[in-house]
Symmetry: C2
Subunit: 230 residues, 2 copies
Amino acid sequence: MVETSVLKALEPIKIPSVADAVFEELHQQILSLELAPGTRMSEVEVAKAFGVSRQPVRDAFYRLSQLGFLLIRPQRATVITKISEAAVLKARFVRTALEIACLRAAVEMATQDDIKDLEELLKEQQAAVSENERQKFHRLDDDFHRRICEISGHEYVWALIREQKAHMDRVRFLSLASGAQAALDDHVSITEALRAGDGERAGACLTVHLSRIGTILSWIRADNPEHFED
Amino acid sequence: MVETSVLKALEPIKIPSVADAVFEELHQQILSLELAPGTRMSEVEVAKAFGVSRQPVRDAFYRLSQLGFLLIRPQRATVITKISEAAVLKARFVRTALEIACLRAAVEMATQDDIKDLEELLKEQQAAVSENERQKFHRLDDDFHRRICEISGHEYVWALIREQKAHMDRVRFLSLASGAQAALDDHVSITEALRAGDGERAGACLTVHLSRIGTILSWIRADNPEHFED
DNA sequence: CCTACTCAACTAGCATATCAGTTTACTAGT
DNA sequence: ACTAGTAAACTGATATGCTAGTTGAGTAGG
């Protein structure tokens, strides 16, 4: 037998396929609005641009359509979906439901160390806000919410939340730095409630936190009507 | 212009593709355990059995793997996943979170007619239980939960719940008729709480309701160890 | 100038061939 | 009998040709 490595991986190693790469790239470009809503996409063109065949592009297209970012119509052009105010609010509802469940579980499970970790995150977030580092804050924001899922022992829920969140992220990308301080304040409130073991209050804070997107949604739409559907 | 029809469909008509058909058939067979967990699946064989090419089968396989029913390992055999006790409990957690959110919203939204509809459903369920019509009860069970989503104004959540539910359904299929009366009693309690406008109590009843699968899970596993993963 | 029709240029779904990697059955050597 | 090595028989991923259907520009007819 050929000795491949000392520690043969126990879990099946995930080999990133070409389709994965195409998906990741397109997903990132769509979320960052480099690929604007309404843009016509062609399997052939994308395949040529990436230097691959149509098949992996087709696979990637399908995944994106499942997430609601591509509208594939047989025999017709595939287009990047416009931001739907309704879809964003739906995503918010689902995300709120899932995160509240995690938060309530986290209240029961959180150790001193967990709280410390969260507070460490809050400090980093404060630094990012102070230095106006928008990208960094967004990443730390995600970390905070993911961390709560982990603490609750329901880490897998983050995958679902991330899916839902994606629809909100396109809006967030248009919002510039607005609301970062308010978001951070919410995080502080949530962490305090968590430390106090008050699941009710934590949930209420989270609801307020996630509701903020609703208030900015209308004026972001007013500023960027071309990215929204009628 | 050729007059295609008087009422041209406003929404783009969904043309069922071959891939859709393959997916639906396999999905149904997997959920009903006609295709047992652990079964090796081959794109080629399935394609031959359905009389189609490998492409639509591949598409269907991918969708099933996303739902957690197929384990696709490149260059290795694709197998139908065994029932995972952990996956069922994860699905239960997510489903509970989503349904509680809907239920609480439904408490605010429900009209007299909505309650009447639900109670009508309960009667049909009672009939199904009395006549020991298992399939029918399962369908009415789903209707009940879907109806609550509709009442809450968050009908789209049902699609997510259905996804999660699928993992629980394979277990339900093994459970024979056990617990139908208990489930119906839960439905009655939930409806009563809904009528009383007591979201707190309704949520508690729902949590109990969905928890029942946890209690039967271990002895179903004991009776059917071959369908469960270690 | 406007309308109705034709047709070429697309589209995605489907079929098929090829490729690289894994598994497994078989054989040669002990 | 048993092990090591090899090759054939798989696997899914990728590439590409083909088809039915849609779209839109251009043209003929009014």
